[in-house]
Symmetry: C2
Subunit: 428 residues, 2 copies
């Protein structure tokens, strides 16, 4: 029986959709790594009674641990510590050592903002240092401390881990939280699951559903595996979690997927296409450069996301305007006039221009109709031409008709481009 | 008393953090526009009992409407319709007209994927057409129909609106749902609130907390306003919701904010810095171009996000490698050698290169240390130099020390760049 956990994300700005929640997904991944089964993530506003009810619900559903994020700031609408204290029936108390510690942290900040109201700051400081009696304090990363608040009686309900809202405070603090006895004891007995990921590109999700049926008919005990499939940025991701004893069942299942989908299965070890492209470029010692029209730099962004990308990315041209395609990427004007800016010819010329002008080994060109305007019968919204060029080889050029709104078309086009680069680099 | 709503997002891939939820935030915004008060967004996996408990919880908390997203696909782990049917005590029934309609939709898809298993597809089709008796069907946008499932007795609990998971299916379907009598009657009596947004750039959130206290001391009845403040991509956003009768209280509050924060308040009408920059460029009839190093194209992406951006964006250079800064953006080699790539001089040269080489009126240059490597004592991780150049004017050049991880530094740097462009264009 694995430990069960719930996550309560607080904040009206998250609940009302003005800020998207990054903490729930991040904490969920961390919990799974620890073998903890996550049952719910609930987002609540800054109303104490709604938050209290959410904690109650999770306790009633048998959670062993509840993580909260947010509501630890200095302002009056930051109520998490107080609500959790009440939930665990622990009185609130000023921790003076903690108060001094926060004051130390605030000192340099006060210098940076010379007109700051110091009384307001001290009031906030005191509020942040007032915590439920019997909590374990997690040292502040920003100015807010985290808390581990156990039930009054051991086994009398869930342990609540109170974390700050900003991801860059929450993430290191979670690392500290898992080292504490207070959290460790709450997670005792968690089964450590294994998790494996397969990724496919270029098939509909329903085909995987059929493959599951095929595997079942072949006698593979899928009941021992927890398989989830999902469509993610144009790829199908198959994530399987199982107890270590079921490893052979998983291997048999993975072989069935590999057999039926050899042409579309591109990752058996969980690696992403981004990681594969980066690794191939590093291995070859090659540099890549882009010339993008409709994607407006999104592919260059994506290629430069990982640390160390400068080892294999030279840069790119965002050739949004046709004159920029001509002047910066060296696309011949007559090519645009004859074939139109969205064409195989212009995609190839963009790829070649990127490669030659930016001194790269691999060039990528993208040109398409992102919409909502600009489509025609011939070249509808969603049509994107992509090309990858490598010196001394024929270019790999491909068109796709992508569904969805402008942002979807742009995002999906970069995924298609990454896969085209992967193929061009000689990966499967 | 306004209607209360909850959102239940289903899917193990969302719960476990592999896919981030876009539907909860989007639906929350739509609900607020309708004057519906949102209390909870809960993410659950593909376990029917967990989902059922989440619906029960929201009903117990007095929700008038519950929206669900996801779990309407053709595969066996798509269980939403069935769980909602059981929750509302309505038996499941095959809707044959709906079955034929879905079959029609699938026909062209079957052509696109010639090796598709037709039996699997028909089984999925039938499953998707099996719905709780007494539901109102919302026409499929993809292949999945939506449902509005009322309680058995009017007033006997919440109405459940069942929507598909993919945002581009869910969003148009929500538009159809709000037109139905079934949903309208559930939302009867919703108070229509007014909502106003102020945005500030360049102050800490605690300063706004102090401004609230100042407003209160000045006798403004803040109790009549529902004010939430949050830090979002480096800006402070103050969103206020109130009943129409409290409009003057809001105006008085807004005047206090305007008086205390005249230098940092950049939006009083909810417009974003992106919208303001776009509008200023359009008004001036100017074109913009970028030359980015550490942000890798993120600013060009952001500028080209809105439809019609080609009216004022020429394009950009992603000058990741120093050689690209020299060859494509025309930065003098000796400038880089003398001052380093991360310097005021190189930022200015990038801005000028972007403007001149891409034939634009406004050029933006960004160069910085995104990290995690590459920092030094002089030029630590997070240091970013930015410059905006306009012909015949002195460049506006500025450095910032941005906190956070690589992705945060890159993202925040684009926000700083947008504000620098706004200032250069002569907005407040």
């Amino acid at each position: 029986m694995s430990a069960r956990a719930g996550i309560v994300v607080t904040g009206t700005e998250v609940l009302t959709g003005r800020v998207s929640d990054r903490n729930g997904p991040w904490l969920a991944e961390r919990l799974r790594e620890l073998g903890v089964d996550i049952a719910y993530t609930t987002i609540v506003g800054d109303r104490p009674e709604d938050m209290h009810a959410a904690l109650r619900f999770m306790a009633d559903r048998g959670m062993d641990v509840i993580l909260t994020s947010g509501g630890l700031g200095p302002t009056a609408d930051d109520l998490t510590a107080e609500v959790v204290g009440r939930f665990q029936a622990r009185p609130m108390e000023l921790d003076e050592a903690l108060e001094r510690r926060i004051a130390e942290i605030l000192r340099p900040l006060a210098k940076r903002w010379p007109n700051l109201d110091m009384d307001a700051m001290r009031a906030g400081n005191r509020k942040q240092a007032t915590i439920p009696l019997g909590s374990t304090v997690l040292a502040p990363v920003g100015t807010a401390p985290g808390l581990i608040v156990p039930p009054l009686e051991p086994g009398g309900g869930p342990t609540v881990v109170v974390l700050p809202g900003p991801p860059r405070e929450l993430q290191p603090m979670w690392g500290a939280a898992v080292q504490t006895d207070a959290l460790r004891s709450a997670l005792v007995g968690a089964t450590v699951y294994e998790q494996r990921t397969l990724r496919l590109f270029g098939i509909p999700e329903s085909e995987i559903a059929e493959t599951l049926r095929v595997a079942e008919r072949a006698g593979i005990e899928l009941g021992k595996l927890e398989i989830t499939t999902c469509l993610k940025r144009g790829e199908v991701e198959v994530v399987t979690r199982y107890e270590p004893a079921a490893r052979e069942v998983y291997e048999a299942f993975a072989r069935v997927v590999g057999g039926r989908h050899a042409d579309t299965l591109f990752s058996e070890d969980g690696s992403t296409v981004d990681e594969q492209v980066a690794a191939s470029l590093r291995k070859a010692g090659w540099k890549i450069a882009t010339a993008e029209s409709c994607t407006g730099g999104l592919l260059a962004c994506r290629l430069t996301e990982p640390a160390g990308a400068s080892d294999y990315v030279n840069g790119g041209i965002v050739a949004y305007d046709n004159e920029v395609k001509i002047s910066q990427a060296g696309v011949a004007r007559e090519l645009i006039e004859r074939h139109g800016a969205v064409s195989a010819e212009v995609a190839e010329a963009l790829a070649e221009g990127a490669r030659l002008r930016l001194g790269a080994d691999v060039g990528v060109g993208i040109t398409g109709v992102a919409g909502p305007g600009g489509g025609s019968e011939d070249k509808p919204v969603g049509l994107v031409w992509l090309s990858v060029g490598i010196a001394g080889r024929d270019p790999l050029t491909h068109s796709v008709n992508l569904p969805g709104a402008r942002a979807d078309v742009r995002d999906r086009a970069t995924t298609v481009a990454m896969h085209l680069v992967r193929r061009a680099l000689g990966e499967r």
